[in-house]
């Protein structure tokens, strides 16, 4: 009975692959290349690696150390652990964001994940009907029409009207797989799956990379070849380095990519034992993510699109347009394109499911320890909430406004906010010296001394600037889009949509629910005499009554 057993990781490799699996997602293959090409090409790697060094890796280490410390105190959720590390109620309630993010992102991520499964199946059974003999613009139109129909972009409720490529069936299968693996538990479910899914993704990525790098030049446009495709991606434009948005975008990409500030690592690390090495594990998980992002994402997507389509297939396409509109045209023209297409979308599906599993787990752990219920009940409650939110996203598909609003506020802005509070809790409330000493327990690697300064000053400052940037450039527009009738975008086009408002109300309702659950948990933990404010010695450990982990 999984309910009766304490949740734990089976091996160090398992937890590393689970964290890496959480980090490696669609953004590695679709978002990163577009960001790099649009923000200076090879020169983008300078702010990108700076953000990795000064933000991603240190905040990741802080999350690993906080998670493991909180786990020793008997806690496994972001609110409880933030309360322990941040020494009080304020950080505990800020920590609610660490549950809101995974569950909120899950609402739409599971839908996007089902596109990948659906496209995998379509390519396995003959493709999506792009006519390779048609002109490039016609092919793009065919691919775009199919994709927009498949995801119900035309109007709200379109997916429930039938005739949309069966995306609802793929969504159900995806949902069932997620629930199954989470229900099986950390070791037998998430870890076991990630231990074969991550190597499988690497093998598939290598096959696709080999195919792309050995493509012949475009017969109609000989200047569109592998080298020019790589040049489009990697030739540096140093003038972009003088623009603030390049540095902000690089930091944003690192956040999206590494799953820091997401509430996941803190939960996963809470199942580690005191002497488990969180420094090397954290660095290895980050490195694995970077390999998939730079080594595969940076070498496959843009070059492949450029060889067959030139810049027309890339410019202004956005993350999902590149993956589901442009690349199907590439596969239509590529020799053995259906096979490569099937492999590509299988890889995206594996990347997505290893990430979505990591979104359900923290929420289930939070419900379980706050309400003191069994794991199966906690998973049941989590799945019910996830189903409700996901059905909302499935209904409000018109113009993708429903779920993209949640993505803007929860999946983009709140990540940076949570990361700021996490690094402040670690560096200032817990104490940077004490925090690094805690991280060094059982570690084979030492965190370099200069990281103290980075964790205490540089990372919070970087995050504050990012939040300021969002506030000035995005938040007003996002708010107006949701609640100000007649609101226009930068081009003067009316972008107000009540659906955006509904999405924000949904997020607010979920946040309120999570706050109430946190309040219940707080009372229970206090009554049980737990160290929920982190005021006792590190080894003062107690079990949470009623919760069978």
């Amino acid at each position: 009975m999984a309910d009766q057993q304490k949740q734990a990781w089976g091996s160090r490799l398992g937890v590393i692959l689970a964290v890496a699996g959480s980090a490696v997602g669609l953004g590695n293959f679709l978002r990163f290349p577009g960001q790099a090409a649009a923000n200076g090409g090879g020169a983008f790697m300078i702010p990108y690696f700076c953000a990795l060094l000064f933000l991603g890796i240190p905040i990741g280490w802080a999350e690993w150390a906080m998670g493991r410390y909180g786990g020793r105190k008997g806690f496994h959720s972001a609110p409880a652990i933030m309360g322990v590390v941040g020494r009080g109620s304020f950080m505990r309630y800020v920590g609610v964001i660490g549950v809101l993010i995974p569950v909120g992102v899950y609402f739409y991520y599971i839908f996007i994940e089902s596109w990948c499964l659906g496209y995998f199946w379509k390519y396995l059974t003959g493709g999506i009907g792009v006519d390779a003999a048609a002109t490039m613009n016609e092919q793009l139109q065919q691919s775009g029409s199919y994709w927009q129909g498949f995801i119900g972009m035309g109007e709200d409720g379109a997916l429930f009207a039938g005739g949309h490529g069966g995306v609802l069936v793929f969504w159900l299968i995806t949902m069932a797989l997620n629930v199954w693996f989470v229900f099986r538990g950390l070791s037998k479910g998430i870890e076991a799956f990630c231990k074969w899914a991550m190597p499988a993704m690497a093998v598939i990525a290598l096959i696709v990379l080999a195919r792309v790098l050995t493509l012949h030049p475009n017969e109609l446009h000989p200047d569109q070849n592998v080298e020019s495709g790589l040049a489009y991606m990697w030739n540096p434009k140093f003038e972009e380095l003088w623009k603030a948005k390049t540095w902000i975008n690089a930091a944003g990409q690192i956040f999206f990519s590494l799953s820091v500030g997401f509430g996941v690592i803190i939960n996963y690390a809470s199942y580690c034992k005191r002497k488990d090495d969180v420094v090397l594990s954290g660095l290895t998980a980050s490195a694995t993510n970077e390999l998939f992002e730079v080594g595969f994402g940076g070498m496959i997507t843009i070059p492949a699109a450029f060889i067959f389509m030139g810049a027309v297939g890339i410019v202004g396409k956005g993350t999902f347009g590149l993956g589901f509109n442009t690349l199907p045209v590439v596969f239509a023209q590529m020799p053995a394109g259906n096979v490569i297409g099937a492999l590509w979308f299988l890889m995206l599906f594996l990347a997505a499911i290893t990430s979505s599993l990591s979104m359900l787990q923290p929420t289930a752990a939070f419900v379980q320890e706050a309400l003191g219920c069994s794991r199966s009940k906690a998973i049941g409650g989590t799945v019910a909430l996830a189903l409700a939110g996901s059905l909302y996203c499935l209904w409000f598909t018109g113009g993708t406004i429903g779920w993209s609003t949640i993505d803007d506020w929860v999946g983009t802005f709140l990540i940076v906010v949570l990361a700021l509070f996490q690094i402040v809790a670690f560096g200032w409330c817990f104490g940077v010296g004490r925090g690094i000493d805690e991280a060094h327990e059982g570690a084979q690697l030492r965190i370099p001394g200069f990281m103290r300064f980075i964790i205490k000053f540089v990372a919070p400052a970087y995050l504050l600037v990012s939040i300021g940037w969002f506030s000035v450039h995005d938040l007003g527009g996002w708010w107006g889009k949701a609640f100000v009738p007649g609101h226009t975008d930068a081009d003067g086009k009316v972008d107000y949509s009540p659906v955006a408002g509904y999405s924000l109300i949904l997020v607010a309702v979920v946040a309120a629910l999570l706050i109430v659950i946190t309040r219940i948990g707080e009372k229970r933990w206090r009554a049980a005499g737990l160290d929920l404010d982190g005021t006792r010695p590190p080894d003062d450990v107690a079990e949470i009554p009623g919760a069978t982990r």
Binding site: A2, N235, L283, T284
Partner: protein, 50 residues
């Protein structure tokens, strides 16, 4: 956007591409080598026991 792609990779393009790839590959292999050469299962936990 980089519109000089038709001329192929420039010297600096090659450098950025190769250095970035070398960095992520070497870092990943080094990390996994460290992990795998000392991978005593941390504590299998009850879930892994028969």
């Amino acid at each position: 956007m980089n519109l000089a792609a038709a001329d192929g990779l420039t010297m600096s393009g090659w450098i950025f591409m190769l250095l970035s790839n070398a960095f992520v590959w070497i870092l990943t292999v080094w990390c996994f080598k460290r992990v795998l050469t000392s991978d005593a299962p941390i504590d299998p936990g009850p879930a892994a026991k028969p």
